[in-house]
Every structure is written in C-alpha cells, then in structure tokens.
Symmetry: C2
Subunit: 307 residues, 2 copies
C-alpha cells in the first residue's frame, strides 16, 4: 500500500462558446499541485501552501468535501492529509474549484489502489463544486479528470462523451476583477427564442463535427454563442475589443471561460496564440486592469501523477 502521492490538476474551460453547460476542455497550464499522504489517525486534514486562505475545515473546503464523499463510500476508515498549492486563482473562471475537487479524488483513488471507476470520481468531485458554487455541475470536473475536450450530454444520469479534436493552442487572459458565478447565472434570461436556440444548436452541432472531423474552418465558423455571451460579456470590461481584435489576428474563435472573467481564444498554431495573448495584455494595460495571460494548449492527460 502506498502512503504518498503528488499530482497536478489542470485548469479547465467550461461553457465552450456555444457549448454552454455541456462542453469543457482541459489546459496544460495553469495547474494546481496537490500532495496526499496517509496518516495514522482516521480523518481528513487540509493544508494549503498558497496565499488564498481557503477554508481548512473539510466540510467547507472544496477538495475536502469531494474527499469526504469518497471516504464515505470506502469500507474502511482511513486517515489522509492533503496539502495543496493552488496556481489556478479562485474566481478566475478557469475551473479552480474543479481542479481542487478532481485533483483530490483522483489522488486519493490512486493512493488507495483505484477502488473507484471514473464516473464515481466525477460524482465525488461534484460535491466539491456544490461547496464552491452551490451547484453540482460536472463541466469543469470532467475535462479536469479525463483531459481533452468532453461533452456532458446529460446530467441525470450523467452521460459523458470524450471528443477527439485536432491540436488546439489556447490563449487566456484573466483580468483581475470579480465576477460571481451566482451573479453570472442570475443575469441569464430563463427563456430564449426558438430561433436563437436553433442557431445555437446548429453551432454546437457544427463544433462537434469540426472537432471530430478535424476541420479547423468548421470549428471556427461554429464558435459563435448567440445566447449566453451577449448577456454575460457586459460583466467583463474590454471583452468586445479583445474578441474582435483576436479574431482579426487569426484566432479560430473564443469567448468567456466558464462564467468569467477569464477570456480565451483557440488557435491552430502557438504563434497565433502568442499574438492574441499580446493583444489581451495590450487591451487590459490600456484599460488599466491587472491581468494575467497564459499561452497554452489543450491538455490531453487530465489530472496526472508527478514523480
């Protein structure tokens, strides 16, 4: 029996433009680092080595709540100590809570000799999302665990479809403003016009076909969100300028990451991703909002063990 494991849990982008609530992808960076070790006394100890002052009580901690769900279904009482170094800033819209929850349960499962299959791990981790935002959603957790691009066809029962795609380079900007997920949900209209809904499902169908047929042009044409983005983008200063200039500079398309405030763009090449990251920096420097950018790729590994 192993006593120690160290893993990296990737940032993720949910609500992939026209794929609101159903599509997500994992990034190569940023990543949280988590260490999990067995202790002699049964129970769960949470420690952090980062600056975010997250709660240490397991019930109030995202990773803790996910681990408690796992431990509850385990037959034997065991002791675990989790030490997290977060690099994915909470509230960035880059799946920070999903990385905590997914990383913790994947680490625990490996440490214990893989007693649980992936769907169980997703279910446990969803308890962490509930602590983070009140909703048990799976669209960050699933790509975080599996890597790549994942479709959540349905939640009840959970139906997960991993999607092959051609290589995608991603630029991301995190303007350091606060957008609460609950606010971002609240401003959405409860009803949408049938006409807009049809346009949206034409785009989502095109995007899935573009990924699976490895057709960058089709991916690009399909990266259009006529329902969520027009409403939510008003919460993100600079969004319209970032988007239009990045598209001009050759991005395939992009939009709001999760419920924001991060904004991402997809590209065929790293050079293009670098040039749109420069545009992002330029816009937020001029507006005068602190920000952080990433130039990265779609991560096909998901949570991975470190040596």
């Amino acid at each position: 029996m192993r006593n120690y494991i160290r893993i990296a849990a990737p940032a993720t982008i949910a609500n992939l433009v026209c794929g609101f609530d159903i599509l997500g992808l994992a990034l190569e960076e940023p990543m949280d680092i988590m260490e999990l070790e067995r202790t002699d006394d049964p129970g769960l100890v949470i420690r952090h080595t980062d600056e975010y002052a997250l709660p240490l009580s397991p019930e109030e901690n995202v990773a803790g709540a996910a681990l408690l769900a796992l431990l509850q279904e385990l037959q034997e009482p065991i002791g675990l100590q989790l030490t997290t170094t977060k690099h994915i800033k909470p509230g960035s819209g880059l799946g920070s809570s999903a990385a905590s929850a997914a990383g913790a349960v994947v680490a625990a499962n490996r440490l214990l000799g893989n007693p649980f299959p992936t769907p169980d791990l997703i279910r446990f981790a969803m308890n962490g999302e509930k602590v983070a935002c009140g909703v048990k959603h799976a669209d960050n957790i699933t790509p975080c665990i599996l890597g790549g691009i994942t479709l959540i066809r349905a939640i009840h029962p959970l139906d997960i479809v991993p999607l092959e795609a051609p290589p995608l380079h991603v630029s991301v900007v995190h303007p350091q403003i606060e957008v609460r997920t609950s606010d971002a949900r609240q401003i959405l209209r409860k009803e949408v016009s049938l006409k807009q809904a049809i346009r949206q499902w034409g785009n989502i169908a095109g995007l899935i076909a573009g990924f699976l047929q490895k057709d960058y042009r089709l991916i690009s044409r399909s990266l259009e969100d006529v329902i969520i983005e027009p409403v939510r983008s008003i919460l993100i200063p600079g969004f319209a300028e970032v988007k239009s200039r990045c598209l001009e500079a050759g991005a395939l398309g992009g939009g709001i990451s999760g419920s924001g405030p991060s904004v991402f763009m997809l590209h065929e090449t790293q050079t293009q991703a670098e040039s749109t990251a420069a545009i992002m920096r330029d816009v937020y420097n001029r507006i005068g909002i602190d920000h952080k950018t990433y130039v990265t790729r779609v991560n096909t590994d998901g949570v991975k063990e470190l040596p």
Copy 2:
C-alpha cells in the same frame, strides 16, 4: 450535348428528432422518378404521370420554380420538358417537394454539362420549397442532393456539413392524415426555456458525436427531442403508442419526420426495422387510419441518374 436524362430523387427526413431545422437524412425509398429532355422551343414544360394533380404552370410548380431559378442564371435560353412520376406523396412529411425541386435541378445540371456547383443547386431548389411551403428551407433539399445525413449549420450564409454515420435501417409509417406544415409551425412556442434548450443542445451534440464515432448506443441516448415533439406529436394520432412500442422492440429512437404526419424509427438491423414497421401497421390498423409503411435504409447516393 445530351438531350435526355432520367433520375431518381429520394425521400428525406428533416428535423431529425433533436435536430430541428438543422439535420436531415436521405432514404433509399420511396423515390420520385423524373425525366428531363431538351426541346427546340425555349421555355419550360411540366408534365406529370402520377395521380396528384400538381400545378403545371412552372411558377406554381415546385420543380418548375426550382428550374426557373436555374435557367435564370444560365447564360443561354434553352427549352426543357420535365416529366415527373411522384412516389413520395405530397404532404407526407417525407420531403416530397424537396425531391421534386432537388431532382429537377440536379437533372438539369447534368443535362447541361454540370455548369453549377452543389451550393448553387441547393439555392435553386430552395425556390421550390418556397413555392411548396412559403419558406426557403434546405434541410430536405440538402440530403436529397448529397445523400446521407447532412447538417445545415447555418442558413445565412448556407453552411452545409455532410456527416458520416454507421449503417442505419429505417422504418417509416405515413398515416394518411393531413398535417399542414404551416399549422405545424404555428403551434410551436416562439420561446423555449433555457433549461430545455440546454438539454436539446446536449442531445444534438451527442447525436453528432454518435454518428461520427459510429456509436449506436450514444445515437440512441441522444435521440430525444424535448422541445418540438411534445408539441407537434399531438397532431399525430397514435404517435405515443407507436414510439413507445418501437423503442421497446429495439429501435434506437425516432420521431416525427419533417413536420409530420409520417413517423420514423432508426435501427441497427433490418430485422428490427421490419419489426417496428409491423408495430406501426398494427397501431394504425387498430385506430382505423389508412397508412403506408416503408422499411428502408439511409441512402448515401442522393439524387441519382438512372440508365
């Protein structure tokens, strides 16, 4: 220069369950037979050898309107006579008008040495749909011309994506009642809940992935329409019973063909399609509605020339 051509134009199923307004497929049968010959006098003569008494004036005739659109963009004035034997009953929901319009323009294009590419042919044929139902829609025309399963990602500008799929066997019942396309459109709500729209785009995403990944189980799980079918199916007596019994008998799924009244089911095997066709006959025999059933397959050829 050729003077004569004879083609077969297939029936099509539009609004493929969760793919309202964006997905369609072509069938092996029924098919309309059309003969087109050059005449000495410029202009267009329309003849029918069937029982349907369709209009003979080119402007009021579906095939005629499509051909007039083609002739208008042709540089030289020519004379054509079109003779149609329809086997796809008008008003069946099986793309009867699309077969007339698409068959006519494909025949004319081949007769003239293929001056127009496919997107032009689709555009010409959409003029026929306008005569038939007042709307220039392309979701029957496109699979009729191309064969197979086609996605219309967007109409303006037209963006067509042919989709590979595993072999599919189809049973169809056409209960001989009248459902006007305009009525079927009118009873739809103009607004849908965001929640239902998300469920629908999860299903359309799953269906596209199921086709392209050749995953029959995923296709089956994704063949669910929570928006259109609950409203339109009330216009089709026996629908609920046909559907539930066919699913029990092993159909992957199915629904209303186009705007009805025909109902179709998709299957992995011909045996299953035969057994659901028997269920369809049983239901409509008992209700006492005249009907016709087909056991056929997805047609991957589209409009094709006959010897």
